[in-house]
């Protein structure tokens, strides 16, 4: 109520234009966005950008933990890292790629279901997609150990359906086991990053006007043709951001490879973690994570260019 008393008398005619402000006030107004940005950006510069620079310098250092490290522009570290650990790099790309593809194949029907078919169940299904997020992902990943246990029902079913014969031939499994094989790692990666695929897909599917489907039907398009020519192209932004949101974290993950895999399924993340936290070979670890970062940035840029959705972010 006090504010009303403070307000100028309402007799003044409402100004069509904003009253001219003093130069001082205008200057202050121009500075507002910078003051708003300052604390957050400072945080990101100090704890995100600056560390990257430190890491770049670490990657060209030589020395040991006892004697200390010195910048010697030793680019050989990069070459050594690549030639020693190319299998792990290759595996990371393959596993993350397979997981992303599986996420798309598994996630699309569910996103479609939530967007168009769920009706009043929509929110319930959405909650069931998001709620597992709140159970620690490590606990859920450990549960896969039980699910994929040797001689368990899942492995038995896959075996009797001759799925394991195919995956054995592909080199994804070995014999009658799934646990400690590449298949288990890909399964864990797919599971862990599936919600990151479903949610963007759902958001872009939900924006599609249902009348477009009717129009396609009126023009005698079969359901599958409608999907191929209308729905899927319109959901491309969701496909692109979903694949990025699954591929990038999956390629750097080392939890799934560690918990569900074996020493033969180690990915780059595992190597970086071991070099950094156990062997304490900081230059190699820094070089490895720089190569990983560069590879991902290049792949992502090419992919976004190619898919023509540059206004994604």
């Amino acid at each position: 109520m006090t504010s009303l008393a403070d307000a100028p008398p309402p007799l003044a005619p409402p100004a069509a234009e904003k009253p001219p402000r003093s130069p001082k006030a205008r200057k202050r107004g121009r500075l507002v966005p910078y003051w708003l940005l300052l604390p957050g950006l400072l945080w990101l510069v100090v704890f995100f950008a600056l560390p990257m620079i430190y890491q770049a310098s670490t990657s060209v250092q030589t020395g040991s933990l006892e004697e200390g490290f010195k910048v010697t522009w030793h680019f050989q570290t990069y070459w050594n890292a690549l030639s020693d650990y190319w299998p792990q790099f290759l595996r990371s790309v393959l596993y993350a790629g397979a997981a992303t593809l599986l996420c798309l194949l598994l996630g699309y029907p569910l996103a479609y279901l939530i967007a168009f078919r769920a009706g009043r169940w929509r929110n319930v299904v959405l909650i069931l997609v998001i709620a597992p997020f709140f159970t620690s992902f490590l606990i859920r990943t450990l549960a896969w150990k039980t699910i994929l246990a040797d001689g368990g029902p899942v492995v038995g079913t896959l075996n009797s359906l001759h799925v394991l014969d195919v995956t054995n031939w592909l080199g994804m499994t070995a014999g009658d086991r799934v646990l400690a094989t590449p298949l288990a790692v890909v399964c864990g990666l797919t599971y862990n990053f599936l919600p990151f695929m479903i949610l963007p897909l759902y958001t872009s599917l939900e924006r599609i006007d249902g009348r477009l489907h009717e129009a396609a039907g009126d023009l005698y398009a079969k359901p599958f043709t409608t999907f191929r020519k209308v729905t899927f192209p319109l959901s491309m932004p969701g496909v692109v951001s979903g694949t990025l949101l699954t591929f990038i974290p999956a390629s750097g993950d080392y939890v799934n490879a560690d918990l569900l895999g074996s020493t033969d399924t180690r990915m780059v993340g595992n190597v970086i973690q071991t070099q950094f936290l156990r062997i304490l070979d900081y230059p190699t670890a820094a070089a490895l994570s720089f190569i990983l970062m560069a590879a991902i940035l290049i792949m992502v840029t090419l992919y976004i260019r190619k898919s023509g959705t540059e206004d994604l972010v």
Binding site: S3, P10, P14, R30, P33, Y34, L36, L37, G40, L41, W43, L44, V45, F47, F48, A49, L50, P51, M52, Y54, Q55, L106, P109, L110, L113, I114, N123, V125, V129, A131, P132, F133, F134, T135, S136, F137, L138, R140, L142, A143, K145, T146, I147, Y191, I248, P249, S251, D253, V255, G269, I272, Q273, F276, L277, Y282, A285, S289, I296, V300, V313
Partner: protein, 266 residues
């Protein structure tokens, strides 16, 4: 073949429900195994029904301590990231200024970076500064990676806001502070809440970045990781189940409140 036609018609629903099953299967297993009484140290094989772990959830050494530490870190990380992120989001949506594109890229980069890269580089910084690893380094790291997600969530909401509402408030002689508190903030609130919830979940669940920057401090995810090597107590499944239930109840309660409010408006 009526069955084939039925199958064809419901293919999407069947495939979607299959995926939903895939997503929820581990949660079912976690719940079931919270009632297990394992023989050895590892809780991977079903032995015998028992409610022992549920009656004594903190019966494992250090587990509840790590849980409360994780909750504290998640709380402060949420407060920090939400405050900083909301300010950035408003600046980006509401103002035109130089270097806007650069700021947008700086916000986007942490989300497009594998966690292990950020974790390793942050550790290099802390090692170079000679910082003591522990609570504060974890908190700093968590605020850093939650920030971008908060900005994205709040930005989406503020962008869909009608700026004329604020102009209307000013035409009605509301001061800038009053306009912000009574018009802008209530409309932006759902976006800010979504950002805060996301930050809490991300911080509480983070393992990779914490693993690098925690030193000898043990958060709940790190406790789970350690127990996967040493032997998993049943209590971990109890906590996992409880977290799932709390999340579902939380969201359901939110939906009920939201529905009631909508009905009142109608």
């Amino acid at each position: 073949m009526p069955f084939v036609r039925w199958l064809k018609h419901h293919l999407v629903v069947i495939a979607g429900l299959f995926t939903l099953g895939y997503l929820l299967l581990p949660n079912v297993v976690v719940t079931v195994f919270s009632f297990n009484k394992p023989k050895g140290r590892f809780n991977y094989e079903w032995q015998q029904f028992s409610t022992e772990a549920w009656r004594d959830p903190c019966g494992v050494a250090d587990m509840c301590g790590s849980l409360s530490l994780s909750l504290q870190i998640a709380f402060w990380a949420t407060v920090g990231a939400t405050a900083l992120g909301t300010m950035i989001a408003f600046a980006l949506v509401r103002y035109r200024f130089r270097a806007r594109g650069a700021v947008n890229s700086l916000i986007f980069l942490p989300m497009a970076m594998p966690e292990v890269v950020m974790a390793a580089s942050l550790l290099t910084l802390f090692l170079n500064m000679g910082a003591q690893l522990g609570f504060w380094t974890i908190l700093i790291a968590h605020i850093m990676f939650c920030l971008s997600f908060v900005v994205t969530a709040v930005k989406a909401r503020v962008m869909s806001m009608d700026p004329r509402l604020e102009q209307a408030a000013q035409d009605l002689y509301a001061g800038p502070v009053q306009t912000f508190l009574r018009v802008t903030l209530p409309i932006a609130a759902p976006g800010i809440a979504a950002g805060a919830l996301l930050a809490f979940a991300l911080s509480f669940d983070d393992f990779i970045i914490t693993n690098f920057n925690a030193g000898s401090t043990v958060t709940f995810p790190m406790f789970v990781w350690g127990s996967a090597q040493r032997g998993t107590p049943v209590q971990i499944n109890v906590i996992g189940t409880a977290m799932f239930l709390v999340a579902v109840l939380f969201v359901l309660a939110g939906m009920v409140v939201g529905n009631r409010r909508n009905r009142q408006k109608a």
